[in-house]
Symmetry: D2
């Protein structure tokens, strides 16, 4: 409850700083019996690993994960899963001069106001390395959702002005492209734009989109733990996110009711008993999905579509005006190894936080009806 | 923890349905010693009351609040404050036919999938009347923040395509205009547009903006209970919100680092001891506020600026295609008394949720340093 | 989270003071589909109603409960159930002199130290009337457990030195005796002892025992939310409880391992498939139940047996030494209408808190295995 | 929220199994600015270390703690403190035969019923080694309480029938005696009794008492998070605890009101302004402390006195009847390295859980009044 935990039933607690001994997460409440090994988690961590190409920080970290508890004979035991990554390439000296001033666009000033002092090495706890714990936990959540047939997929939606065209969506590109963009042509333009950013000693913002397919209906708790409210918190808790959209997002403010309401469509004949949902109706079909799969805070079984807007990396080489502890301002230039764009490495973080949120609410929903209690306890 | 509570230390729990006996909220964790009476709360509730003009539902409700506990001799006692409003004008018969089908754009289908059946009268728990509890609790949070000098102000930012011009911002208009818009000229155009919506049997979306002035720095808990993450959840938990923005919001995705970073500016000489903040520096000044007052999830003492995008009211008179329990679809027309636009009545809901969130995190921050413990316990 | 809520998934929030407008509870997280009406709850409240005989306070309260939300067409909807009882017989004048001093054995001094002042009328929030909310919520939890075959039964175990003899246990007496004692002979002696207490202007302590039959195995969350830890908190949260025991309780400290370990016994042949528990074994049988049905914080399927020790009512007519606000001490005599013994009216409170705790952990356990997820979502 | 976390504002999350890679804890919400190093924590861990003498398991573990995060330049930063101890002497083969049956007095059967299988090596998560995380976190809480002048001291109260005599209480013995007993003569008798237990291949129960001195008044949240309710949960969450007492504990059930009420006594003249407590009165004095420092769930500034009854170690060498997976029962003898008495090593665990609980509620109480908000934010 002190800020470093997320989720109610599937609950993660992250710890660690950029330049401390390591980064970790404790996952409590993972159901027992899930097959799990370190490779399952490493595949996710490799997607956010630094040093992959010139568009990411040149810090060299293997980010090799170790499972310290909660797995026995290849399966989760129901007890806390402790995961850890050691920091290897901590060049703290890069940051020694940051101790004396507050950088524009960073959390430096807020941390000092809150705690009276701060770990100034590489952002300390506010570093992007904190997301390692989220991604490791998200790998577990994704695997568990996969067992139920639910698939969570995030990708780069836009970088600066360059936006993917849904018509060119190529799912196979996502994990095999430098920028995790599903549109080849857009990625080519984005790479040129990023080269320009590097040359100009600045950075770029962008959008990450996340798609959840084969979602179960009925997930989300009215009224404060709505599915969209929990997803909103999950994505806003990622550093640098300044806006979150569900479905049509901002555009709904300029829409009209008859355009925005997703009309239902006739169901095809029921193929078999298996197609019957709990309440006796077949899964609803809609003519459109402006709602992004969530109505009244509850999933309707359509695909969920959410987006997060990331601000440009605040660490840029260009001269900036910093505030010093004595209250004066001076020009500074930030050294160190920084990404010209946060978005590609944030893709897997968005996917992880989405998976964690959905799994947590899916567990929660198991207690929604007396009928479900009978199914478990009779 | 079961979805109807919000906040950690200042914690509200709402209850009630549109057509039940009433609507209420229990506010637990309100500090003792705040002067409070029913009039303080009624002023807030009157801003969301139905039937104010032709742009809101014609349901007639006084929504007179009663304080049932937690206040003694005009001051809060530190124990739970129970607030209640009785429903008066419940015409349940308006809704009898809704029982048999799922309306487009509504939570009907999701509720049935989740709970096996639903209270179909006027949306039940998913009705906008649920926000009465939030607004009542928000009145208390706002009053308490006011005691510390923090002011929370929400208003209508846009309706459909009609947007307020910041240059025409007139604070005095907000509470004295039909649509709670601070720009007179924009409101006139918005009213014309809403007349058109009514005529066309449809509804409109819009945006609400909220400004927090004289904010304390250091508020917000890294990493999952960031101030923006908690605000994001707070606003997304309001029905019909499909996007939330902090500061520049979505625009940051198209911005560059040197544009988006708020540069610090030299402080004016310290006027007196009172201007010293805790860590020995004077309050930081910035040349811009693209960040909307939050960096790394912690307030920096600038104004906080957030926005929520509301979808058009899903209840429209126009013919629509509903799903029936037997799996077939048919044309329906929704009767009942509905708003052509949610936004004006949602303004005070956004203000309430913002105030509750900020107060909760302000309380939380009181335990951030050993120095603060000494200040309370020595 | 601010002290007036209990439980995680089945979560209750109580409010109200002894001499305010009323007392209530919001029950959030009750599964949908449970048949429920006001009579179900009234039966429980009548067991703690004052004025039943000369051994309870002479305050006259019908304590008639009203269901304000969460039930539709006779069944719970899954949304918050708000329950309320109005205070009728509030003779606040009885308490006017209490404002100026702190009574021995009461919470007066602590409340003033905590909140700076207090609602001095009849104990305010620390009054026994606060338990009305618990009992009302407990009626719901008990009914739901009953649907699963689990039965919770509390009774008076001892009053002063007078203890029930297990050999004389007569279940049918419990609800039909003045003191809720299952042993007729013990009750006769207890009544004589209480007459003596009244005559001597003093009060008596006693024990309440609670038995849970047909318990499911596997309930309780290691390591901090053990079943016994949650029950311990539940019972200690009842005012006047100074000790809690599980199974053999205190006696285990004087026991030896070979005496205290409950040996397993051979199972009788499995009668049918229905007798198979989840993990493929039949329900374990034990030769004894020193453990009171809980090992390692998890139920083993045996009966659960817990006890709570209640202190004597602190309000006695005899002269006592009170602390006044000016720091001096003076002799006072407490007027008002008080019970010479808390225990009989506390029986149903213990039963209620036990039922709430067990139901909450039963819901929680539904998410313990991947297999259970498949049973709900496949 | 999934069982391995404790506390609201000062929140600990433990992880690890007896025979996994290690044991750890994440402490979130520790105020910034506390001086802290590994030696502070090691001193506490050494008190529960195995292999200290023949009355504890012969497993050899240095239990050397490592601080992995949350401390910078010798002070806590306000971010999560991750602490870890590696397991060294894991002889898993000792336990291979345990996989096939359920031991009497152990959690084996419950874990299997809950999770479908278990980590059978040395009890897995239900091992006493889990308490390493609690003790490490408790060292931090104790140090922080010490900064405010609050002292927490636990000791062995009784072993079997041998009880310490309060008249022989010698505080200096506690940390310098084999059994952490403050009464030399009692310890001598206890050692003889334990030799007898070892010879008879059995084990003994006992009591741990904990004393909190210089406690602040006003701590504890009515009504469910009473100080005694939270302490009760804290102690019952320790494996093997079957009863918890506050103050006079069980004896209150046989007491009468005029005996049990602690009368107030005249205050000595106020020495200085510093002796004024918040509400304008000097600290109350009482003629007795039957209440153990807690009334109505709130501390009254007297010493807090609590006790926990521990059952005998369930692992004994003597022949016992175990349940096998096929439903049959057979005689088994438990091998491995076990303590004949849990109590001496549990002393520091009780002290740790008490310190954690009190600190958590002390932080919580900082938000109890508007006056306190002004003290922090003006």
């Amino acid at each position: 409850m002190a800020g470093s935990s997320f989720g109610t039933l599937f609950r993660i607690t992250t710890w660690g700083e950029s330049h401390g001994k390591g980064i970790g997460v404790v996952v409590d409440g993972c159901p027992a019996g899930l097959s799990l090994n370190e490779e399952d988690i490493q595949l996710f961590l490799d997607r956010r690993k630094p040093g992959q190409n010139k568009y990411t920080t040149q810090r060299q970290e293997a980010d090799a994960v170790e499972i310290l508890s909660g797995v026995f004979e290849g399966r989760t035991t129901g007890t806390p899963i402790s995961l850890m990554v050691f920091n290897k390439d901590q060049r703290s000296k890069d940051y020694s001069d940051i101790a004396s001033y507050y950088r524009p666009g960073h959390a430096d000033y807020g941390f000092d106001q809150k705690y009276g002092f701060r770990d100034y090495r590489g952002g300390g706890r506010s570093s992007g390395r904190e997301t390692i714990g989220r991604v490791a936990a998200g790998a577990i959540a994704s695997k568990l959702l996969g067992e139920l047939g639910i698939q969570v997929t995030a990708y780069t939606k836009s970088i600066g002005m360059v936006e993917c065209d849904p018509a060119h969506f190529d799912r196979s590109r996502i994990l095999n492209s430098k920028l995790y963009m599903p549109d080849e042509e857009a990625e080519e333009r984005a790479l040129l734009f990023l080269d320009e950013c590097i040359e100009k000693q600045t950075s770029s913002g962008g959008m990450v989109e996340c798609l959840v397919e084969h979602m179960k209906p009925g997930i989300g708790e009215p009224v404060f733990d709505k599915l969209d409210a929990c997803l909103g918190k999950a994505l806003f808790s990622i550093g640098a996110v300044k806006a979150v959209e569900i479905g049509d997002g901002l555009a709904v403010s300029r829409s009209m009711g008859h355009e925005n309401n997703d009309q239902f469509t006739e169901l095809s004949p029921a193929p078999a008993d298996a197609s019957q949902t709990e309440s006796g109706t077949r899964r609803a079909q809609k003519a459109a999905n402006h709602a992004g799969g969530i109505l009244g805070g509850i999933s309707d079984g359509s695909n969920i579509l959410i987006r997060a807007a990331f601000k440009p990396t605040p660490s840029i080489s260009r001269a900036q005006t910093a505030l010093f502890q004595d209250g004066t301002c001076h020009e500074i230039r930030i050294k160190g190894r920084h990404d010209p764009i946060i978005v590609p490495r944030a893709v897997v973080v968005v996917e992880a936080m989405t998976a964690i949120t959905i799994l947590d609410l899916l567990l929660w929903n198991m207690t929604a009806t007396l009928d479900k209690l009978h199914r478990i306890y009779d």
